[in-house]
Homo-oligomer: 247 residues x 2
DNA sequence: GGTATGGTTTGATCTGTATCAATGCGTGTC
DNA sequence: GACACGCATTGATACAGATCAAACCATACC
């Protein structure tokens, strides 16, 4: 089911910001995780020509909902949130993007969500028009984009189940296992230590809860010795509890 | 934003079951709405060879979650629900498919949801393997599938906002306007009469509510003269109320 | 007609999560 | 050290929607 999880692992922790690519796709550490894994070595050079490295500071907005799509991005370091905002200020995060994640799958003219940097972020930027030409010339690249889009769709359906039918405790459990799985794909091995660069409010807006309920639930889990809260996230003590929690 | 809404309208109400195609794509009434609209007239013939008409009775299951994908479908008449079920029986509907909707966008090996007929259904069935060859030969057909998939993704994000952040009243309002918009696309004109072939439980499982809350909310709206409940659905009396409701 | 059946509506009550309101705590700055 | 600032936590209370239970209503069938 999770066809994207077959890419080879990285040695380093890609969550922190370090030199990843420097305009040379051959040295790119997250390539095996990214959309570029659909390409042959001789194609990297052509892709390199149409891409540039960019950097965003914490809290910076990469794109705003309803903006024209002028560039697409592969996150190479750091974490961003994908945000939908209602007129009265209510927020729903539709996802977090971690290193290796591609933003702009849809090839549509305008963005349907805002993208905001949670940490300092580096990304590989592609011009929309040039990437569109690239897509036209390489059907297997379009096929890869399509696979990624339908994978996203399946994850979106998972998240609908979470939002519509899970309790606060189940939501938090599913969230922690999801983030753990995604870090594991980047780092190459599963760890009980789960960095959570996003704040409690972001978690709440992702899970359809309030910040108070998120805080209370995590602290209850700590009191029950299922995890410990550490400065940059949590450490799971009882993974069985979390796996059993997910129905 | 809604690129799929550009197809030409149908004169008749496609919700009811009538002769639609009869193995002749040239006569297909829902073609302009469907994935087939990406094809030229001379390509219909080749598509016709790989498709067959099938019929399902009310409550019949077209496919089961986790089943291998052997066939893909375009609904030609009737309505189906897309269902995810948790181990303890909790259900979340991820969507309804109406005439013109294509099921199997993902091209993956297994289904990630069950598909169940709400009414008698006719569909145009394609073998997965033959359609995959077709996709390989016609890049513009793959492009069309990709557009449809990313459109679905955008709708899925809309639904996340609904599930995570709207009140029961807002959920019902958004649901009725969504269904109205979708019938309008099929019928060719907007009507205040909204057929609701799905039961209250299905609406509840789609909106992340209970059947009692759905019933109460709709009846409240009736008491407030925003709509009237009719045998096959509802009729909106005050569309302004519904449009104002959606934040 | 009677009566079983499946879905819908309505009422009474409960509860999980939101809301409102402090308090705590770590970090950076002067 | 003292103070401010931005989160996170904790407590008290309110309420939207869930749950439990019963009645209602249309349809189909004998």
């Amino acid at each position: 089911m999770d066809c994207l999880d077959q890419a080879r692992p990285l040695g380093a922790h890609a969550g922190c910001s370090h030199h990843v690519k420097g305009e040379d796709c051959r040295l790119c550490l997250i390539r095996p995780l990214s959309v570029c894994s659909a390409l042959e070595p001789d194609e990297w050079a052509s892709l390199e020509k149409i891409s540039t490295d960019v950097r965003f500071e914490e809290r910076e907005t990469l794109v705003r909902e309803a903006d024209d799509v002028v560039s697409l991005y592969t996150i190479t370091a750091g974490v961003v949130r994908l945000v939908r905002t209602l007129h009265d200020g209510r927020r729903q995060l539709t996802g977090f993007a971690l290193p290796g994640d591609f933003l702009g799958l849809s090839l549509e003219r305008t963005w349907t969500f805002s993208i905001e940097a949670i940490t300092p972020v580096t990304a590989c930027r592609f011009g929309r028009a040039t990437l569109m030409e690239y897509v036209d010339q390489k059907p297997h690249f379009l096929m890869r984009l399509h696979e990624m889009a339908t994978h996203e769709l399946s994850l979106a359906q998972d998240h609908m189940v979470l939002l519509g039918r899970l309790t606060a405790e189940e939501k938090l459990g599913a969230f922690l296992l999801e983030i753990r799985r995604r870090w594991a794909r980047i780092e190459g091995h599963k760890s009980d230590h789960i960095p959570l660069p996003m704040g409690r409010q972001d978690i709440a807006d992702y899970l359809g809860l309030t910040i108070e309920t998120v805080s209370r639930t995590i602290n209850q889990m700590q009191r029950a010795h299922h995890l410990v809260i550490v400065p940059d996230g949590v450490r799971l003590l009882n993974t069985g509890y979390f796996e059993h929690l997910c129905p």
